[in-house]
């Protein structure tokens, strides 16, 4: 008797191949309809749960599979190739799990991570507010100590998974007078159903449909002090930023997956559609486009993998994550537009998926920090590294 012993890498390849198969068979056939109807994909979420997607990055000791980010980004890429929104539902979940695993107290890990790993309770991230997006330090939500509890007041905007998530990581001010402001910030873990926490509205969006983007109102929400992430006040901004590194890597992976889907459709269509007596793929102008598209996708993928590997080594990677996110999201916008151009008039109709890709792409330019903010992060790091 022997075992099919293989290095961990071979397992990873099998897992990615399996996700690819799942996306081809289960996601792509239904994505178009779900997206156009703006329906939350309940059945697909159930299947993703069974597959184990929600437990992927959670450490094994807490009921997860303990994947590294290098593997995880390839899973995200595949999901996004099928439907970008699915990768979005997974994203804030993974972010919240990461923040708890990396920054939480042992008690918090034991309490929340197994719940998140099962996927019934998914994670939502509450950082942005109506008047604080790029400028995170401008948030106004407060948490005030009251005996063994804190009382949270304020509103959070743009909360992905805001309606369906079960556990929210919420960035608040615990010391409104702190200078600079970020020193007075903390993250709380708040469960859905806590009295005073309500969804006040959801947004209709250009793309990124099916997954809800909500406003959450916290009206005197009482949260026990044991739900303060990491157990001490003042580290929230740092916690949120380290979570955002993961978020940026994730968005880069979504951009690569989405662009890949657009490229796949475009290169197929270019060989089917004929003009002036030959398939348009035989016109050099189209070939140049296809070559540029594929090259840019590959470049983005390499940036992304470099950032993920650095995160896996436990190193700070805001520079690499920023570069990957910036390049991949801008690339995605260009590639989806090129795919639309290659489809001609049909590309502008709802009959073809490129129309969806084109509407989904701009989200990547904004979510988890805009391109402008990525450039600021990158430049800050560069000036640090190249200081004279």
């Amino acid at each position: 008797m022997e075992n099919l012993e293989t290095p961990f890498d071979a397992d990873k390849q099998l897992i990615i191949a399996e996700v690819r198969r799942f996306v081809d068979r289960e996601v792509i056939p239904v994505a178009h309809q779900l997206e156009h109807d703006d329906n939350y994909p309940i059945e697909l979420i159930e299947k993703l749960k069974q597959l184990g997607i929600f437990s992927a990055t959670i450490p094994e000791a807490y009921g997860g599979l303990g994947f590294d980010f290098t593997t995880y980004v390839q899973v995200v890429e595949e999901l996004s190739r099928g439907w970008m929104s699915l990768a979005g539902i997974v994203n804030t979940h993974v972010l919240v799990a990461y923040m708890i695993a990396a920054q939480g107290t042992e008690e918090q890990r034991q309490r929340f991570l197994p719940l998140l790993a099962e996927g019934d309770k998914r994670g939502g991230l509450c950082i942005s507010e109506a008047n604080a997006g790029s400028d995170v330090q401008a948030i106004t939500m407060t948490a005030v100590r009251d005996g063994e509890d804190y009382i949270i007041n304020g509103a959070k905007l743009w909360v992905t998974n805001g309606v369906h998530a079960g556990i929210f990581a919420v960035l608040v001010r615990t010391d409104p007078n702190a200078q600079p402001a970020h020193r007075g910030m903390s993250v709380f873990l708040v469960e859905k159903g806590t009295p005073g926490l309500t969804v006040s509205r959801t947004f209709e969006k250009l793309g990124y449909k099916g997954v809800e983007t909500a406003e959450l109102v916290f009206d005197a929400v009482r949260v026990p002090a044991v739900q303060l992430l990491g157990g001490s006040e003042g580290a929230g901004f740092k916690h949120a930023m380290s979570g955002l590194e993961v978020g940026r890597i994730n968005v880069a992976a979504r951009a690569v997956g989405l662009a890949q889907a657009a490229f796949n459709d475009a290169i197929r269509y270019a060989q089917q559609r004929a003009t002036f007596g030959k398939p348009i793929a035989q016109h050099q102008a189209i070939q140049l486009k296809l070559a540029d598209m594929a090259t840019k996708i590959e470049a983005a993928r390499l940036l992304l993998q470099k950032a993920a590997r650095k995160k896996d080594r436990g190193e700070r990677c805001d520079l690499e994550a920023g570069m990957a996110k910036l390049f991949a999201s801008e690339m995605c916008q260009e590639v989806t537009l090129d795919a639309l151009r290659i489809h001609g008039g049909f590309g502008y109709t709802k009959e073809f998926n490129v129309e969806r890709y084109y509407r989904d792409a701009p989200f990547m330019l904004v979510g988890e920090g805009t391109s402008e903010i990525q450039r600021l992060v990158i430049a800050r790091q560069l000036l640090e590294q190249y200081k004279i």
């Binding site: 008797m1 075992n3 099919l4 799942f22 597959l51 437990s55």
Partner: protein, 261 residues
């Protein structure tokens, strides 16, 4: 209960355009991407479903194939099969349905199964002769085209697909059962399943382990000879029925002729 599933690794029907080698007159299997037969995925799922209903049972995947077939076995294990047995031997190259059935039966003989599941036919060769051969070698009853399987006491009861509906058929255990294609939705391996597949028992055997004389299998033992291969007839143009008031009848007649009604 011990449920065995005979599985096969084949050229990926979703990505590989099947080619026949004009010299050997066989399907080209080298240099192409190989997968667990998608039909077998659904047969494995049927076995797992039965195992989980009956309880206290195991599902074992058995296969004959080259060393590369390990990959297909791993996929079966990832789907939830409990253990796997693969017979690999250079002398097996060129085996026909008879030789394959002989080898699979020899494995099963050593294992004393309660049930042996096979897909009705493979998605590459489509001969559909292996399950009958196994039943014959093992001297077991065979139930065919099952779309539903239950076990009651020492009996297997199936719903057998027919052109017009189904028959309920039963037989004593042990038995060989072929599964009608598309009757069971294929289970996806979970990520956990994939990770744990490598920890499950996997046995690789040779002909010597099964005490099979190499002259009875492979090229040497083949009784089936492909005389010629030729191109399939090009598809004829469809028949267009003009609506002159009787088109409904004409369409019904057409469908009836092909037993589609």
């Amino acid at each position: 209960m011990k449920i065995y599933v005979c599985v096969k690794q084949i050229p990926d029907p979703n990505t590989v355009v099947s080619k026949l080698d004009p010299n050997t007159k066989r399907l080209v299997r080298s240099g192409v991407s190989l997968v667990l037969d998608p039909g077998d995925e659904s047969t494995i799922s049927a076995a797992i479903k039965l195992r989980d209903t009956v309880g206290n049972s195991e599902v074992v995947a058995v296969s004959m194939g080259p060393a590369s077939a390990q990959e297909a076995m791993r996929r079966a294990l990832a789907m939830g099969v409990d253990r796997a047995i693969l017979v690999t031997d250079p002398a097996l190259a060129g085996s026909d349905a008879l030789g394959t059935a002989r080898v699979l039966a020899a494995i099963l003989q050593k294992e004393s199964p309660d049930l042996v599941f096979c897909s009705t036919e493979s998605t590459d060769g489509y001969t559909g002769m292996v399950p009958g051969g196994i039943a014959e070698f093992l001297n077991l009853p065979q139930l065919t085209f099952a779309r539903e399987i239950n076990v009651e006491g020492a009996k297997a009861i199936i719903k057998r697909v027919t052109l017009t509906g189904y028959q309920t058929v039963e037989c004593p255990l042990p038995a060989v059962v072929t599964i009608a294609s598309g009757s069971f939705e294929a289970i996806y391996p979970t990520m956990k399943g994939i990770m744990s597949a490598k920890k499950k028992p996997f046995t690789q055997l040779t002909l010597a382990d099964l005490a099979i004389d190499p002259s009875q299998v492979g090229e040497a033992g083949a009784r089936e000879h492909v005389a010629t291969i030729g191109k399939a007839e090009a598809r004829a143009a469809g028949q267009i029925i003009k609506d002159d008031g009787n088109s409904a009848q004409a369409i019904a007649d057409f469908l009836q002729r092909y037993q589609l009604l």
